[in-house]
Symmetry: C2
Subunit: 410 residues, 2 copies
């Protein structure tokens, strides 16, 4: 058991690999309509101002504001109705002093107009005249051209994951294509003599491959493309061959070890053989996930995870996801989806080690109660039955019942 | 302006339509490997127990616990080494009293064995004998068959959105296909004489269609399939025809109105013509989003949203997403991703109306500051520049600087 010579805290372990990993991530051009969840790889600047013309925000009459000064119910102003501005068409005339124009919400203000009086504050008067019962200030009830975005302004920085709002913004500007980070290929290798594909009939002593699929889904959700290898047996040659192939084809490789100690040692050897500098971290001060290996081999990260599915998932959240975000060029990682809950019972933990505990959420009105899900750590359904994970920091001896905890949703 | 005869609070408006809408949602069978984010449409029960055999959780020696009772460093027990259990193979022999078997983490315990002694607490002795320096209790350092899941136990309820953990669990059980809710088709109709497709050259007075795309991405993210119609002009006949086509093809229809009041009235008329009972809610006491229409026509929900992109998105989150979740058969809606932040300044609001305000998040150590993004409500980049929305409840006159607020992430 000489493998854990030095256990780094998880944040330091992550920092150690991130500080040495500055990938030049591949990029591609996509249709904006297909870009939900993709990460912009170049800033987008506005080709036009938005709005592109002075727009009314109400139904009413476009006016020169000065013509309405002092107008009130008892002392209205009277303006000559010039014409109506039809929706979706240019207001191709100039409004002169003493004139107004009928306009609809979203309609274009004619030249000369600098405000709009709401229709509720007007009345038709004889002789094609409109009675204005309320004064408006310049700019009132309208948007100025460029008020949302000026021409040339950066509207999307590089490194942002696109949300519906961003896609809407691009469309408003007629930007229908953009450059995004290519989806990183993440090689996934499950190893272990006892591991078989999920669709196979189980023989005594065998277990089905969970990690290629659970980690694959985690990778997919983060925007990566899982590339699953055939299950590798617990022989160095076979595991190395599989690792080399994945290392050549993918931007990032994740190997989940067989469950025995000797199988985990094999993983470290196979990783070390992939290139310099090799293994940076061997063992992290965390539960579950202690036997995690972080390596950089020939410029690509290679991560060794414990074979048990719960440890593998917890550790992948902490170490694989940030590497995918780095590969995507995400400028600032999104806050992990979380909510605040009240812990249902006392939780002990070993001081000096960071613990992650699965919890189930019980809604209590607007609030949530977090109930730890017990079960030995290698039982996948311990996680499947949970809603989230809570973190017990290394400097705590545990958490107390009733305490507010952040639950990181699964 | 007679359209808002009665403005319902948003929660009551939603309840009014949800209480009358019990769709029989279409389902389909998919590969579990492709099921991330899909919603299970039938419960899954375990075809086998998990683990399927008694497994060691350590490297060591399988024993009959009774043979170790009282064993210690100074007074070890001596057990005959029967053989090694190879990984991934059956332990097809029975361990007799006085015997032990070498076993690896994850290996299968032979019949008769009921505990494992860790290898650190043993020593080899002459004559194929193992010295046991520590007593173990029955069940120690092992998992019993069925300890994670019993055969026949429900492991996935109907109505759950699948996460990586759930896919892993299914694979562990060899469940490689499952029944999920089909992705609901959501018809999206943008209307307005001034609205043109985003790829077209803009003429004065025109604006590009934002809503079909921003709402489409919102629908996609929720698990629906956006079905975009051609942009409808502000004529009842054209809008009705478009609405009828979408209503026939889709499970849910969303129409965003032209921006003028008369265009919004057209939307209500077109919706009313789609079938009974028709419009249930016309106007909601919320900002932005007041002119929202909620209707049920021939068993399908039809939602009329304000034309301006910000109002449309805010309103769609509140009313379209819960309908998609209902269509997916989600048993309990996931908590909307959110985080707690400190408000940067005082925010006034009109009492009696629920307000939603876009905010930008500024990280301050582990905490967040929420800075309202100002801008007239119909500017799409007001949202694109924001990280989330905060809610000012109807019974408040606003929120105070420094107050803790829940930020719902965009």
């Amino acid at each position: 058991m000489s493998e854990f010579l030095e256990l780094l805290p998880p944040d330091q372990a992550l920092e150690l690999i991130l500080s040495r990993y500055k990938p030049d991530a591949p990029r591609e051009e996509v249709e904006a309509v297909d870009a939900l969840g993709r990460v912009s790889a170049a800033p987008v600047c506005a080709p036009y101002a938005l709005p592109s013309f002075n727009r009314s925000t109400v139904d009413g009459f476009a006016v020169r504001a000065a013509d309405t000064f002092g107008a009130s119910d008892s002392l209205p102003a009277y303006l000559q109705l010039r014409r109506e501005v039809p929706m979706g068409a240019a207001a191709d005339f100039e409004l002169m002093a003493g004139e107004c124009a009928l306009i609809h919400t979203g309609g274009m203000l004619p030249a000369g107009a600098d405000a709009v009086v709401m229709i509720e504050h007007t009345q038709n008067a004889p002789g094609n005249v409109v009675e204005i019962q309320r004064a408006v200030a310049p700019g009132e009830n309208m948007l100025e051209a460029g008020e949302d975005v000026r021409q040339g302004e950066e509207v999307l920085p590089a490194g942002k994951r696109l949300r519906p709002e961003d896609i809407g913004g691009l469309m408003a500007l007629g930007v229908t294509r953009l450059i995004v980070a290519a989806s990183p290929r993440v090689g996934l290798i499950s190893s272990g003599d006892e591991v078989i594909p999920p669709g196979n009939e189980l023989q005594p002593g065998q277990v089905r491959d969970v990690n290629s699929y659970s980690l694959g889904a985690l990778v997919e959700r983060a925007g990566g493309t899982p590339v699953r290898s055939r299950i590798a047996p617990d022989r160095l040659e076979a595991l190395s061959e599989s690792a080399q192939r994945a290392h050549a084809e993918c931007e990032l490789v994740v190997i989940t070890a067989g469950s025995s100690v000797s199988a985990r040692d094999l993983t470290a050897q196979a990783i070390q053989a992939l290139g310099a500098p090799g293994v940076l971290v061997h063992g992290v001060n965390i539960k579950p996930g202690k036997p995690t290996i972080l390596a950089l081999c020939g410029g690509k990260p290679v991560i060794g995870l414990p074979g048990n599915p719960v440890s593998a998932l917890v550790s992948a959240r902490l170490f694989v996801l940030p590497l995918i975000e780095r590969l995507l060029g995400l400028a600032k990682p999104a806050p992990a989806p979380s909510l605040i809950a009240r812990l249902s019972l006392n939780l002990a933990s070993q001081a000096g080690r960071e613990d992650w505990v699965p919890v189930r959420l019980v809604q209590e009105g607007q609030a949530y109660l977090a109930e730890p899900v017990f079960g030995k750590s290698n039982l996948i359904f311990t996680l499947s039955r949970a809603d989230g994970l809570i973190r017990i920091p290394a400097d705590a001896n545990g958490l107390n019942a009733g305490e507010s905890v952040t639950v990181y949703l699964l």
